[in-house]
């Protein structure tokens, strides 16, 4: 076989492979956020107790978010000197802290809803814009960032009116490390108590 045909064949094969993957990511990013928003709206409308809602949010977080990325980002430079045991303990404590903290925030959404809007490609990931409608409030913007870094589409960050929540949490974790005189274990135990 001629080398040129081989190359053409290879290019065609590559194009056929690559096209569906990109298409899946764009549609997939929207599909992920659609389904995420549906689940959040369901919890908001359920009228369950605060405790029950926290555990529902923790499950949503578990299912839809890139947990290892979020934990690694939140720990920031301190992650470089953390032991594997500390990393695992931090991930666990951080996820439950996030569910408590944002679960409490989502309570303000009771009677309101999120609506999915446009999808935009940014570098190697997608940004899905949603609008939050709360009672008696001007609608505001909630953006989810979605990537397939971990092998499937998961959200790895969100912005509320331009405020980067991961950066906010990394600042918080850094402040907890400082407060504990640089001790990672001290920070983890504070995180377990934080609301």
């Amino acid at each position: 076989m001629d080398r040129r045909y081989f190359l053409i064949g290879l290019t065609t094969a590559f194009t056929f492979c690559a096209a569906p993957i990109l298409a899946i990511t764009k549609a997939g990013a929207k599909k992920l956020v659609d389904s995420l928003v549906k689940d959040i709206n369901k919890v908001i409308a359920s009228g369950k107790s605060q405790e029950a809602m926290y555990s529902d949010f923790e499950k949503i977080f578990e299912r839809y978010s890139d947990k290892s990325y979020i934990s690694a980002y939140a720990m920031g430079v301190d992650g470089r000197r953390a032991t594997s045991a500390q990393k695992r303990a931090f991930s666990k404590a951080f996820q439950s802290y996030i569910a408590r903290k944002y679960g409490a925030r989502f309570q303000e959404f009771i009677g309101g809803k999120l609506e999915v809007g446009s999808v935009k490609k940014v570098k190697s990931w997608y940004e899905v814009s949603t609008t939050a409608y709360l009672r008696n409030e001007a609608p505001f913007d909630v953006t989810f960032q979605v990537s397939d870094r971990a092998g499937k589409n998961l959200f790895f960050n969100m912005y509320i009116e331009g405020v980067n929540l991961l950066l906010t949490e990394r600042t918080e974790v850094g402040a907890l490390v400082d407060r504990n005189g640089g001790s990672i274990d001290g920070m983890i135990s504070d995180l377990k108590k934080a609301s």
Partner: protein, 255 residues
């Protein structure tokens, strides 16, 4: 009651002097945290502590009282009245930014709400005509003109800001004709009073969210600085100034 006005003016002038001297004293050292230039962190933190204590002792209880006692309809009307008074600034700044559409929206809203909206107590422009509020201020105009945000500043009573927005706020105050109307009558306090009430109204409504930043975070100064700055950049459409991380570039091994 002119002395009262000149007192508030000299207070504002002191601010302006402070800001301008701050502008000129930017040295070569770059103090930056999360992409925010904050060379006056020490002074800012002192002001933050002052703001926190004022909030705890005065603003928070007043806001919670205000939102729980005053019916929502009246609260909304007072906020509408205050917003309507800032319309002339919005129109002028839209024009300065070359935003004719914004100036038109501002003019329509001001005309409608000042007349059939009973001096701005109601907002028929958005209720009947679906012409929503369009915001513009001189800080934004400076941004459009290419002025950088300068150093981060936390202002007494007002919270997170920066040099550009502080100058913008002062210019808006002195150029708004409504700041000068009714100098010798009690009505002159209506504008300032409604502005304070509008502030209390949002402090009361977002009470839990604000409390979690001011009283539950490990470093409330850093949180307020980060959120205030990012939110303002978002408002201005200046998101490139924020740091973007590539999710594929981070080492997540072990998490």
């Amino acid at each position: 009651m002119v002395p009262r006005l000149s007192a508030s003016r000299s207070f504002m002038t002191a601010f302006l002097v402070l800001t301008v001297s701050a502008c000129t004293s930017i040295g070569s050292k770059t103090v930056s945290s999360n992409g925010i230039y904050d060379p006056y962190e020490k002074q800012n933190r002192q002001i933050h502590e002052f703001n926190r204590s004022i909030d705890k002792a005065l603003v928070r209880p007043a806001a919670l009282g205000y939102t729980s006692i005053v019916p929502d309809e009246i609260e909304d009307s007072v906020s509408n009245f205050s917003r309507n008074l800032s319309s002339p600034s919005i129109i002028v700044n839209s024009l300065l930014q070359g935003d004719l559409n914004g100036a038109g929206v501002g003019t329509f809203r001001f005309t409608m709400n000042s007349t059939i909206g009973f001096l701005g107590l109601f907002d028929p422009a958005s209720i009947f005509f679906d012409i929503q509020e369009h915001d513009a201020d001189f800080g934004e105009t400076l941004y459009v003109w290419g002025v950088g945000e300068g150093a981060y500043l936390e202002l007494p009573f007002l919270g997170p800001s920066n040099q550009r927005d502080t100058v913008g706020m002062l210019v808006d105050f002195f150029t708004n004709p409504l700041s000068y109307i009714g100098l010798d009558s009690p009505e002159k306090y209506f504008g300032a009073g409604s502005r304070v009430a509008r502030g209390l109204s949002s402090r009361g409504r977002y009470s839990d969210a604000v409390d979690s930043i001011l009283y539950e975070s490990a470093d409330s100064y850093s949180q307020a600085r980060l959120m205030g700055t990012q939110n303002r950049r978002f408002e201005l459409g200046d998101e490139n100034a924020n740091v973007e991380a590539d999710p594929f570039a981070l080492d997540t091994e072990g998490f």
